[in-house]
């Protein structure tokens, strides 16, 4: 990726050039001799004897796929031309789902830890019966000894939905713990909660079709590297730009793949995106470009916002100092945005992974609201991956439901770590997990310590990731085609039904089977019925009251259904928040209590004030950035071992009786941390990767094999580093290594080190960046960790 073949250099120069190119001198044959590429034994993929429609198991695009099967083996996957979202296209990950199945690294049998953590030789193979019997016995003992609240279950985000969202929920109800959570708090729960708080529903307004998201005239993508993270959706947006029908602005500290395609790249300082939205609103109101008719009819709290922006003087000139984006450009794009009806602003994890994630998303929603950008297709503000719409669950008799008696300890699973170690405010003693807590969570060393304090820890997954050397029990999972079921949801509310295509391999089982068998061992066999091991039977039982029946899925050529489908016969709806549809199953165009977009209300004021913040957009940055630059940042009054207060944010973020932390916005008198001269930000390495799992698939791993550090040539020259050198990136909580990649397309004061790497991956070993991320500095509303704005020093290793 970094190197370029010498022999092609001359030829390649033409690619970047936009001016006329004359005939190119190539090197002479002798100099130009390329090293022959070894292709290996080649042979065309066999013609399938069966083509099955299924859904991709990876990201939040949820693409429909045509799976080619020959003699019981999956030989290829193609896109589905009948899918209006993908138009038959597929990114690298969807295709590599074949290599995910037929993969020599797969976990093959249940394992039990019989020696010290951290060593593969500490594990011995056991039978499923022994594993599930022992796990169930330990879970029962934890409930008796410590109360049911002492079980925590991280269900991950991208495994099969019936099991992940449905059956674990049933298990939770019967066991009585408040601690079951998905990936949201590590992903985009900040966007979910912001949308809940202002529009009254979690999902963005659009669908990824050409008549909606793909049909706008103007796009601003903020902290959203769509080209790598939402590949097929961005392909269409970029197609529209090339046709001359749309402008794209990318706001990102580095020239991402998305920024490389955009008309305008705004390299913003990490952690300050909120200031951009504030200044845009300030300018729009000053120029009288806000949509008064829309505000009058559909927005609450505009006058408060207007006065607040004026009082705080969040002007473009102020924002220039904070963000590094020139005031003139902020003014220009503000005016373009206000004057363009079909204008989309999208945020993603680049905004969510901060202590100001919730309020930043909320501020962008306000910007869209005061300019009237809701109610029609191809407009609005939204964040990716803001959660599913309810699909239903199997019924549990009311008298069998165990209601938790103690408060839920925060929204983020990262909030479970300290109670596991300190036992305060009460102990968590059992932990079931999938995904990769020891790659993904911050302060990974602390999470490893927490495992030592548990009575039982269970990890279920496909590959022998680092967790399989630390948890007590390891259960091998059969993924998508071996399992059948329902894909995870897309950004724009689609799920796809996946038929059971091939038999589970090795001794792995689908999650659905594992949870049913575990439920039976818990003594709940009347609810976790054997017949539910069949994905169609289970889907019929779960979706009894909703529109997600297997029959409806399978009647569609792309096997996809878009929620909400609150009733069996509810029609699928495209754009949300229109006058005609609002949100199916909820009241009003904007299902807040008022039926309007709520920028400020007295009720909201009380909810936020209880934690020391406001529904109005008071600017602050992440703590390390604030300390380094003398900008406002959060001080935390409650730790994860404290009782804190009970969250008032019902319907926004609170799940039942949930602990919330109190904070205070601190305005520092002077900058500190002078030793740390650089900002450190993070993100997806490339379109090939999605968590730890893709690093076990060689074809994907080859596309971005090493943890790298994008560094500007000026900085690289100062520290004597060239591309390919190993550098040490040292933050406040320690250091990691990465391969230097000298790159002109990044701010001079910022380095970018991607996530998803681990020192227990098969092809390359890199200590995860998340070892030096502070898990305790989280957004007070969404509870999200700040992964994307740290300070650091970079030196040659």
């Amino acid at each position: 990726m970094i190197e370029m073949e010498l022999t092609r250099r001359t030829f390649l120069k033409v690619a970047g050039a936009s001016a006329a190119v004359a005939g190119l001198p190539l090197s002479s044959g002798a100099e130009a001799a390329p090293v022959a590429t070894t292709f290996g034994a080649a042979g065309a993929a066999p013609v399938p004897d069966q083509v099955v429609t299924a859904g991709c198991p990876f990201c939040q695009s949820t693409c429909s796929m045509k799976v080619h099967v020959r003699e019981g083996r999956i030989v290829n996957v193609y896109g589905n031309p009948d899918d209006p979202v993908t138009e038959g296209r597929l990114c690298p990950k969807g295709q590599a789902s074949v290599d995910m199945l037929y993969n020599k690294y797969r976990l093959k049998s249940p394992l039990k830890r019989v020696g010290p953590r951290g060593k593969p030789e500490s594990y011995q193979e056991i039978s499923w019966d022994q594993a599930l019997t022992e796990i169930a016995d330990k879970l029962k003992a934890v409930s008796v000894k410590h109360g049911p609240e002492a079980l925590a279950w991280w269900v991950g985000g991208r495994s099969e939905s019936q099991a992940r969202a449905g059956l674990t929920g049933t298990f939770q109800k019967l066991y009585g713990t408040p601690h079951r959570e998905g990936t949201g708090p590590f992903c985009n729960l900040a966007g979910t909660t912001a949308s809940n708080s202002i529009l009254g529903h979690n999902n963005p307004p659009w669908t990824y079709t050409r008549d909606d998201f793909g049909g706008a005239d103007w796009y601003m993508l903020v902290g959203a590297n769509m080209a790598a993270c939402k590949v097929v959706a961005f392909g269409k947006v970029n197609d529209r730009r090339v046709m001359g029908k749309a402008k794209i602005i990318a706001v990102d500290p580095r020239m991402s793949e998305t920024a490389g395609a955009a008309d305008l790249w705004l390299p913003i300082k990490p952690s300050t995106d909120m200031a951009l939205a504030l200044a845009m609103m300030h300018h729009i109101i000053e120029k009288d470009l806000h949509n008064k008719a829309f505000i009058e009819k559909k927005v609450l709290g505009f006058d408060k916002l207007k006065a607040f922006l004026a009082e705080k003087q969040y002007t473009p000139e102020w924002a220039e100092k904070v963000t590094g984006i020139p005031a003139a450009i902020i003014k220009e794009i503000s005016e373009e945005y206000a004057r363009t009806e079909k204008a989309v602003i999208m945020g993603n994890a680049g905004l969510s992974h901060h202590t100001n994630g919730h309020i930043t998303h909320r501020t962008f929603h306000m910007l869209a609201a005061i300019t009237g950008h809701y109610g029609k297709p191809s407009m609005g503000y939204g964040c990716g991956n803001t959660g599913a719409t309810p699909m239903g669950s199997i019924s549990v008799p009311e008298d069998r439901v165990v209601k938790p008696k103690r408060q839920r300890l925060g929204r983020s699973p990262a909030a479970w770590v300290e109670p596991m170690i300190t036992g305060k405010p009460y102990p968590i003693k059992a932990f079931i997990s999938t995904s990769n807590p020891l790659v993904q969570w911050g302060d990974i060393q602390r999470a490893m310590t927490a495992l030592d304090n548990l009575d039982v820890s269970v990890y279920y997954s496909m590959f022998p990731s680092i967790e399989t050397q630390y948890f007590d029990y390891i259960l091998p999972v059969s993924p998508w085609a071996e399992s059948g079921g329902v894909t995870p949801v897309s950004d724009e509310r689609r799920n796809i039904f996946v038929p059971h295509i091939i038999q589970p391999q090795h001794q792995a089982w689908p999650e659905r089977w594992i949870f049913i068998e575990l439920g039976k061992k818990m003594g709940w066999g009347d609810i976790f019925k054997d017949e539910y091991k069949d994905a169609i039977v289970l889907q019929r039982a779960m979706a009894k009251k909703t529109g997600f029946s297997p029959e409806r899925f399978l009647a569609k050529k792309d096997a996809a259904l878009r929620g909400p489908l609150p009733k069996p016969d509810s029609p699928e709806v495209g754009t949300l928040y229109t006058e005609a549809h609002g949100v199916p199953g909820k009241k009003g165009q904007f299902p807040r209590p008022s039926g309007k977009i709520e920028i400020w209300t007295e009720v909201l004021e009380k909810m936020y004030a209880a934690q020391g913040i406001s529904p109005l957009p008071e600017f602050y940055v992440d703590p390390e950035i604030g300390m380094k630059d003398g900008l406002p940042y959060l001080e935390y009054l409650d730790s994860d071992s404290d009782v804190g207060i009970t969250s008032l944010m019902k319907g926004i973020v609170a799940v039942g009786n949930m602990r919330a932390r109190r904070v205070k916005i601190k305005y520092p008198e002077k900058p500190e941390l002078a030793d740390f001269d650089m900002y450190l930000t993070s993100g997806r390495p490339s379109a090939a990767h999605f968590g730890d799992g893709t690093h076990w698939i060689q074809s994907l791993n080859d596309q971005a094999p090493d943890q790298f550090c994008l560094i500007h040539p000026d900085k690289a020259a100062r520290i004597g580093v060239v591309t390919g050198d190993t550098v040490k990136v040292e933050g406040l909580k320690g250091a990691v290594l990465a391969k230097a990649w000298v790159y002109e397309g990044i701010r001079k004061d910022t380095v970018f080190v991607p996530n998803t790497y681990s020192d227990r991956q098969p092809f390359a070993q890199w200590k995860s960046l998340n070892f030096i991320v502070d898990k305790d500095k989280r957004c007070p509303v969404s509870d999200q960790i700040n992964y994307k704005a740290l300070v650091c020093k970079v030196t040659k290793a």
Partner: protein, 177 residues
């Protein structure tokens, strides 16, 4: 003869490298027969990506260099193919190709290259990479029709004929900014 070609739009390529995986899957190859080369920004240019399959040249250097006549240009559509029965594995072709497009199957000791998925063309389908490209950056068809379409859209076609082999795969330059 009516030459077939892939038209590569450098403005539409978003660098996802779907093409590489599709080639591996379709052709059962350990290494893709195509590749994406990333062109990092230099002196203010933008990040770009270059898709590199076989150029299926009008006068293929590989074919001219082949001592056994194993590499031939198919008469009806101009696709350049290898007759593996005649290939002796000398690799002169890979030295000759100015685009570095010729590979080698070390197990079977024969040259190996992009065929525009000739087996799919025979079924009336497009090359696998073209069909899956999320960026809509790859188009496949008769070279005259494709270049006429590009010109009608005001797009500039890059001169990539430095090797004087008259490549068929052709590139639309990035739009001026």
């Amino acid at each position: 003869m009516s030459q077939l070609a892939i038209m590569v739009d450098l403005e539409r390529c978003i660098g996802c490298r779907s093409c590489e995986i599709s080639c591996k899957l379709e052709n059962g190859a350990e290494k893709a027969r195509n590749k994406i080369i990333r062109l990092d920004p230099r002196e203010g240019s933008r990040l770009s990506f270059m898709f590199m399959p076989c150029m299926h040249c009008e006068t293929p250097a590989c074919s001219q260099a082949c001592p056994t006549g194993a590499i031939f240009k198919r008469a009806e559509d101009g696709v350049v193919l290898i007759d593996e029965g005649k290939c002796i594995g000398c690799r002169y072709c890979s030295w000759a190709c100015p685009y570095g497009a010729m590979g080698f199957d070390a197990e079977r000791m024969v040259a190996d290259k992009c065929t525009y998925c000739a087996h799919r063309l025979a079924r009336g389908e497009t090359p696998s990479c073209v069909s899956k490209c999320p960026g809509h950056a790859l188009s496949f068809g008769k070279v005259d029709a494709l270049s006429a379409q590009a010109k009608s859209e005001g797009r500039q076609i890059l001169d990539t004929n430095a090797g004087r082999t008259n490549p068929s795969t052709f590139y639309l330059a990035r739009l001026g900014k």
